[in-house]
Symmetry: C2
Amino acid sequence: MEQPIRYELIKKDKKTGARRGRIYTPHGIIETPVFMPVGTQATVKAMTPDELKEMVDAKIILGNTYHLFLRPGDELVRDAGGLHKFMNWDRAILTDSGGFQVFSLSDLRNISEEGVGFKSHLDGSSLFISPEKSISIQNNLGSDIMMCFDECVPYPADYEYTKSSMERTTRWAERCKKAHKNPERQGLFGIVQGGMYKDLRKESAKQLIELDFPGYAVGGLSVGEPAELMYDVLAETTPYLPEDKPRYLMGVGSPDYLIEAVFRGIDMCDCVLPTRIARNGTAMTTNGKVVVRNATYERDFTPLDPECDCYTCKNYTRAYIRHLIKCGEILGARLLSIHNLRFLVRLMENVRKAIEDDRLTEFRDEFYSKYYHK
Amino acid sequence: MEQPIRYELIKKDKKTGARRGRIYTPHGIIETPVFMPVGTQATVKAMTPDELKEMVDAKIILGNTYHLFLRPGDELVRDAGGLHKFMNWDRAILTDSGGFQVFSLSDLRNISEEGVGFKSHLDGSSLFISPEKSISIQNNLGSDIMMCFDECVPYPADYEYTKSSMERTTRWAERCKKAHKNPERQGLFGIVQGGMYKDLRKESAKQLIELDFPGYAVGGLSVGEPAELMYDVLAETTPYLPEDKPRYLMGVGSPDYLIEAVFRGIDMCDCVLPTRIARNGTAMTTNGKVVVRNATYERDFTPLDPECDCYTCKNYTRAYIRHLIKCGEILGARLLSIHNLRFLVRLMENVRKAIEDDRLTEFRDEFYSKYYHK
């Protein structure tokens, strides 16, 4: 059987672990490294699919299995023709497993070998997600890339708990693979766990590779640990992953995390950060964060980011966007979301170009000096 | 001096008072009768200017003097290059006088011959708007059409109060005209008052016509009186207005009010209704209102209005829009706002066509039978 998800390694950076590649999906080709906007509830907040294409140039977005299971329900989405058709998005979609949200959003979790019982954060109803259930939901959603149901261990966690959880995640991955009904249309990725313990990360990678997934995620990072520790664990994990499969670091979206992840061999990242801070009135710009709701921008009739090519920066001023945010106007959240998403997507475009030109380290240093003033 | 606002009467309907016309403004030509979306705080809620052009085909929008005076302040807007440039809208803008909002939104109003003192609904600060102040604000905003500062008498109101208020509105109109600094760039409309008293309406029209404005509004209607009374007063007012000037009925936006106003010789209407009910999850459709948040639409995979040509109806289903509204997603408010605005703008396109084709009454009856099921 031909895999629906294939990875092509175009170039390896000589000085770092960075990779320039390409992911082939049933809904288009994705140049990597790539940033993926998050569309939690079948919508990237405040955006239309057309804007994601034309203004952001996103090639792939995320959907959240936990949220869509609760609302509107995966069977409804299936009956609508799948998530692509339901939300009018014809490019690639990746769905997570629901595991992370079960642990972070729901109440009264009860983890067993069978799966996780929890109460809905919406109405308190008792629900259960097993590996088989997660896969069934994702099959109904019809995403291009699905994730295995895993336990995301909190930080800090002791060695014994982390080890047994990681081993269960492997057993769950095996069950996920067995339960998968559409392997010819949807690619299922394994998720490497193992907390901050390098030997467990190595062992997790080894066990998952034996199951032969078309891609691998690194889970359980960016969960409260120091950045240096995250970088360190990542650097000790990716070398154990196969070179001919894509690698996805889950849930990171700040510019430094994206760049450092690429340095350590990551191809895909996602995060709600750009749209969340947008709604709060903050822009990511070439020269660092701009909290546009601040009084200092009241009469600033310049664009958010003079170096930006986005719709927002070509048409609106900081003073106008500040006015909209101060008034709670939807357009303010929209304009900042467009800009922040475009900023991260373009950052990854520049990262890809830098890898091609053998100047990734120089690019990083120049970017940091302007963005972080260091 | 050439007036910046000119009206061309193209055709009078033989059977009704309806007029097919054209308003020339410094920012484009407006075919009338026309519906004008409301952009209270320098944004038509949830919409970009480009969407208003491309998806709605709005030729003119409103800005609210009261709101813009409070936030971001008319001097800031002036320094940004005027309201058109501030909000990135290069078609026509009409600003109201602030009078209606002073009476409906602010606390502790104190009306004198000089003007109206009130407390801001935002922070309780004491403010004062006189006819001169209203004109100064509107001159700073730079709208194409400005309105005279008036008192909107509540319903019911006794004859004596209504009469003295109407006479003061005339004196204020005279002061507005004198205070107007840019009569070559901005057209100032008079507002006919007189409550529900036909002789006062006639007298108000007569007094304002003597002041020779380039257009006239009918104010003080749709303030709680029965629809039939409103239609009656309107029918007794418009015959006293000059045929060669545009006529604007303020603050009506339901389909029947729009059509009945056109029957009685009105050329322009505005209302927040389409965008307000959009955010609450209600669509106006050919077959009447659709409260899309209702459970009945949970699995309705058809468009909001099968006869509609808008972006929303071409791309999204009722089930999807219901999901968005139920989740409080911004995109739900956006898609319904696009649809409702397009619905009213297209309604007026059809009204214009019906006047041209001498079949306005037939059009009205057909529309009512489908929309109101009567």
